[in-house]
């Protein structure tokens, strides 16, 4: 029951470090993830996956499997193709980017080890797996392309027979005469960078239950996913179902990070299987399947060159990016985004008078790749920051000083970057200065110098980043990709004066829903617990994007603010009609409608009772409708650029190659911080994922395209022991375009952490002549950088 106070303090919730409403339930083991759900008549799906990286399917015999205990049906690709269209990712602005059609279950040809070939539906997963082993397939192996060099070699065999070339895309990005600049520069540094293929490893693997009801002809899919509306569109169009009869519901999701953003053939197969059998079908990827078939990312090499004048100012930057993707371009966003962003985000924090960039994306017979948290931005950051430090060493300049000399300042902004990105106001200098104080940069440099005399090699690394958040329709719209960039919020004032909010945004633990509740509650003058926020159900929430490109609070929070203001206005108009006072003389605070002096005139709960049950007591033309819906999408700017800086302090054991992380810092400017408790932990979590990427994580294939890292013992993610404490601080430069002023922050941690370790390692090894070359920096690679 909402309380009513005589003279309440105005309840400021925005900016407070408040815990999430979901937390208590999740910690007690009462979360509901897809695999916790069971439906009547549900079948379990296991997949026969291709053991070969490239092969033709000659024949499939499913009779043994179909007769196995507990099996309901075995489905081949040919059968499924009759019901389900293949996924074909396209970009309207790059019609030359051909992607082979990706069938839900492969038909005729498999192009990566792990591609799904047959589906077994059985009473239990164990029985389905038993039966899958009884399927007999005769294959003809085809040539395997397992490296980018092999993909580009003249006469290279095609990764898929539908491709004429393995080069998916070649895109130039240039401005200024770079060659002349390089010839005349005082200092030129060049380096080749390599980034290992990695994957997301959400602790809950991908999972869905597809529930096709054949009589009413409706499809409901419970799916662990970031973008239910996108999947609604994918299923409707690929299974030829009317969109309004398709409902995708994301329950609690155990981590996503971009893995659960894309459309997967194996998930489409589960949905098609439900349509074909008329029964609910559950598919839960096991961990081997997750490592094998989740989107991979980041496999890139970058040839970088930086030209500086004698004072260390950048005069030119050149980045040649080769992005090695998988056999198919992932649907619907395609696989080219990581490579493009790696090039576009190089040099972004700096004045770069001349820039040359090229992105080439090549297919390989490996798992499809797609956008993973922070997309290609970490690569652009690591390359830029390392080149800058290499230049600083040549000129005898301090790392912080060379950055100061080159940062874009208020006089330079707004601007369009050489890579074509729009930059608004940034706080690069402020973040740097705050960082240097918090980490005691001078003290660490002194400590480093002392220890070097004793043969202890420590490194200090800085990584500046500019980050694209709150992305609007300009990213996927011109590409023709059917992904909505708007976010929406619907508010309903219930009869007891409590508020229900539904949002298009989804939350996998970020705390976005709590942030939205804070915005709504503060605007309506009620307590936080008087607002509930529901998300994830595409049939019951406003249409929107979900979770991607750091949009939740920035865009979803803005929609919440707009909706709350609309509802507030309606409440005050109705109250004014009832109280016979002008609406603009009334306030809403402390759960009541109040006069300007704060005196309570009517409890909100009382107003709610009347507008719901006693419209007969309202003046006939007085408004009584207390449900509002607003959407928001950036219109005047295409996205909100945020910025920050990270630092790493580490020690290298030069005899074993082991790296010990001693400390990590971040100063981030994500605009208005609605909930620092949620934001800070998103930063920490992202940083640790970035540390995983730069030190441990690697999807390793052999030369036959066989994945060698199929367990969590081989694919290593960070555990608690090796991670440092992470210091977090903020600068706040609010977004001009929104009322709320918040930018996104979900990717910032993962964006800058690799770069901070690249530069710290470079700093540690520089006196010994070592230069890091390839991440992850395993002990073997560190020893390689040191030479013999």
């Amino acid at each position: 029951m909402p309380r009513e106070e005589q003279n309440p303090p105005s309840e400021t919730l925005i900016g407070k470090p408040l815990p999430r409403a979901e937390a208590r339930r999740l910690g007690a083991g009462r979360g509901t993830y897809v695999d916790d759900i069971s439906l009547p008549g549900m079948l379990h799906m296991a997949l026969l996956r291709s053991p070969y990286a490239h092969a033709r399917i000659i024949a499939i015999d499913t009779t043994g499997a179909a007769a196995a205990p507990g099996v309901h049906r075995v489905i081949t690709g040919a059968e499924m193709a009759g019901v389900c269209q293949p996924l074909v990712a396209k970009l309207d602005f790059a019609p030359g980017m051909i992607s082979a059609p990706q069938h839900a279950l492969a038909v005729d040809e498999v192009a990566w080890q792990g591609e799904a070939v047959c589906a077994v539906l059985a009473a239990s997963r164990a029985q389905a797996e038993d039966a899958a082993e009884l399927i007999e397939v005769s294959w003809r192996e085809l040539p395997v392309v397992a490296t980018p060099a092999a993909a580009l070699a003249p006469g290279a065999p095609p990764v898929h027979s539908a491709l004429e070339s393995n080069l998916a895309l070649e895109m130039p990005l240039s401005s200024g005469d770079v060659e002349a600049v390089f010839e005349e520069a005082a200092v030129v540094v060049e380096h080749d960078f390599a980034f290992g293929r990695q994957t997301g490893v959400s602790l809950e693997t991908r999972a869905l239950i597809a529930d096709w009801e054949p009589h009413g002809r409706s499809l409901k899919v419970h799916q662990s996913h970031q973008a239910p509306f996108q999947m609604q569109d994918v299923y409707a169009r690929h299974l030829d179902l009317p969109e309004h009869r398709v409902r995708v519901i994301a329950p609690d999701v155990g981590g996503a990070f971009g893995v659960k953003l894309h459309a997967y053939a194996d998930e489409l197969a589960a949905v098609a299987a439900s349509v074909m059998t008329g029964r609910p079908v559950k598919y839960v990827a096991d961990r081997w399947e997750a490592l094998l078939a989740d989107i991979h990312a980041r496999e890139m090499t970058v040839a970088g060159r930086l030209a500086l004048d004698a004072e260390g100012r950048i005069v030119g930057l050149s980045v040649d990016v080769l992005s090695a993707v998988g056999a198919y371009s992932i649907y619907p966003r395609t696989s080219v985004g990581e490579g493009i962003q790696a090039a576009q985000f190089a040099g972004l924090p700096y004045r770069v008078p001349a820039f040359w960039g090229r992105v080439r994306v090549v297919y390989q017979n490996k798992a499809p790749t797609g956008a993973l948290r922070a997309v290609g931005m970490p690569v652009g950051c690591a390359v830029t920051e390392t080149l800058l430090d290499m230049g600083a060493v040549r000129l005898g300049l301090d790392a912080a000083e060379i950055r100061r000399r080159n940062y874009l300042g208020s006089a330079d902004l707004p601007a369009k970057s050489p890579g074509g990105l729009e930059l608004g106001p940034l706080s690069l200098d402020a973040c740097l200065e705050k960082l240097l104080v918090r980490m005691d940069y001078d003290g660490l440099r002194r400590q480093q110098a002392e220890l070097r005399k004793k043969g202890i090699w420590r490194g200090i690394g800085l990584a500046t980043f500019v980050e694209q958040t709150g992305v609007g329709a300009g990213l996927y719209g011109p590409a023709g990709v059917r992904v909505s960039a708007q976010e929406g919020c619907t508010l309903r004032l219930d009869p007891s004066g409590l508020v229900r909010c539904t949002t298009s945004v989804t939350d996998q633990g970020q705390g976005t829903l709590t942030g939205i509740a804070q915005v709504v509650a503060e605007t309506l003058g009620v307590r936080l617990e008087e607002v509930t926020v529901e998300a994830g159900d595409g049939g019951a929430t406003p249409y929107g994007g979900g979770t991607w490109a750091s949009r939740g609070l920035a865009l979803g929070g803005e929609a919440g603010l707009l909706a709350a203001r609309d509802l507030r206005a309606r409440i005050l108009v109705a109250a004014g009609a009832l109280l016979q006072r002008p609406a603009d003389s009334l306030e809403l605070a402390g759960g009541a409608i109040r006069a300007a002096d704060g005196a309570s005139l009517m409890a909100l709960s009382e107003l709610a009772r009347i507008v719901h049950f006693r419209q007969d007591t309202l003046p006939p033309d007085a408004g009584f409708e207390m449900m509002v819906s607003r959407h928001f999408v950036p219109r005047r700017t295409p996205y909100f650029m945020a910025n920050g800086i990270q630092a790493s302090y580490l020690e290298v054991d030069v005899e074993t190659g082991q790296i010990l992380l001693l400390g990590h810092w971040v100063v981030d400017d994500c605009g208005r911080v609605v909930n620092p408790l949620q934001v800070d932990e998103q930063l920490r979590g992202g940083i640790v994922q970035g540390l995983g990427a730069v030190l441990y994580e690697h999807c390793i294939y052999d030369d036959q395209g066989q994945l060698l890292t199929g367990t969590l013992a081989d694919y290593m993610v960070p555990l608690a022991s090796e991670m440092p404490d992470i210091d977090v601080a903020h600068v706040e430069t609010p977004v001009a375009e929104t009322e709320l002023g918040a930018k996104g922050v979900g990717e910032a941690g993962m964006l800058g952490a690799p770069g901070a370790v690249w530069t710290a390692l470079h700093d540690a090894l520089a006196p010994l002549g070592g230069v890091p070359r390839a991440q992850p920096f395993t002990p073997a690679r560190v020893l390689e950088a040191l030479g013999e």
Binding site: A126, T656, A780
Partner: protein, 285 residues
């Protein structure tokens, strides 16, 4: 990743267990802690017809002092070893090494006998058994035999145990007053198997280290008991230079397997560093 079908048997005593193993003629496997067997079943790498759960066989439990040796029953769990005062006093090398074995959840179930019977050359306890010159007891229906740890581990995951035998206990020489121990492991993360590790035991006398048993593990096909180290250490005053020299000789003696963590030369280089540091630590405390 659900296990393939198998029969499950849970004999109440050792003879019953041995009968079952004999009857299955190699197609039954022993289930002790299950921390290695269960993952291999989940990955369908192992497909036994039957699992023989020996966890109820009480005569396989226990840790006792028997004269100058410590008897560790095959079913002694890692957590028991970690908490045992007897082990702390008489087998300090084991006490140190056990903290590196997996994680708490694994140590609460994993068994000493199970680790040795699994014979993973990257396993800490396997290396310690060799370093301490432990003896493994094997029983079958037909007979009982004892095998020195140094002979027991033959190649990765292959030991001298026959399919109809159960490893029942391990006898480990207890610490003598003049003995010192060393253990160093290079792993990417706490609890991982060693990329390269060294476990050692020696007597520390006035003149220096003697009777050194230094085992390199992690990258060798079987734990390498270094003859070079044993020979070179005798009568050598230990300083940085001599430690490095001995370490270099050990590296030459190695035959490391290349893997995802690095090639043979990387392993040798890392082992050299570990051995040199270990020797200095053992010689000078």
């Amino acid at each position: 990743m659900k296990a393939p079908p198998f029969s499950y048997l849970r004999p109440e005593d050792l003879d019953a267990a041995l009968e079952v193993l004999a009857a299955h003629k190699g197609d039954a496997v022993v289930l002790a802690g299950g921390q290695s067997l269960m993952p291999s079943l989940a990955l369908r790498l192992a497909r036994p017809a039957a699992l023989v759960d020996i966890n109820r066989i009480s005569q396989l439990t226990g840790i006792e002092l028997r004269g100058d040796r410590v008897r560790i029953g095959a079913l002694a769990r890692h957590c028991e070893i970690a908490q045992s005062d007897l082990v702390a006093s008489h087998l300090p090398l084991l006490r140190t090494a056990i903290g590196h074995v997996g994680h708490r959840g694994v140590r609460n179930r994993g068994t000493f006998g199970g680790s040795l019977a699994n014979g993973d050359p990257a396993a800490e306890l396997v290396a310690c058994a060799v370093a301490l010159d432990a003896t493994v007891q094997l029983r079958s229906l037909r007979d009982e035999r004892r095998v020195a740890a140094g002979d027991f581990f033959q190649s990765p995951l292959e030991t001298d145990r026959r399919p109809d035998e159960i490893l029942t206990e391990v006898l480990v020489p207890a610490r003598r007053p003049d003995e010192v121990f060393g253990f160093r492991e290079l792993s990417r993360r706490t609890g991982d198997f060693a990329m390269v590790g060294v476990a050692a035991r020696a007597r520390l006398l006035e003149a220096g280290l003697r009777d050194l048993r230094l085992v390199v593990f992690g990258c060798e096909a079987r734990p390498l008991l270094s003859k070079a180290a044993a020979r070179l250490v005798e009568g050598t005053p230990m300083d940085e230079a001599s430690a490095r020299q001995i370490a270099a000789a050990v590296a030459q003696e190695m035959d490391p397997m290349a893997d995802l963590a690095g090639d043979a030369s990387v392993k040798r280089r890392q082992a050299r560093a570990l051995v040199a540091r270990l020797l200095m630590e053992m010689a000078h405390g």
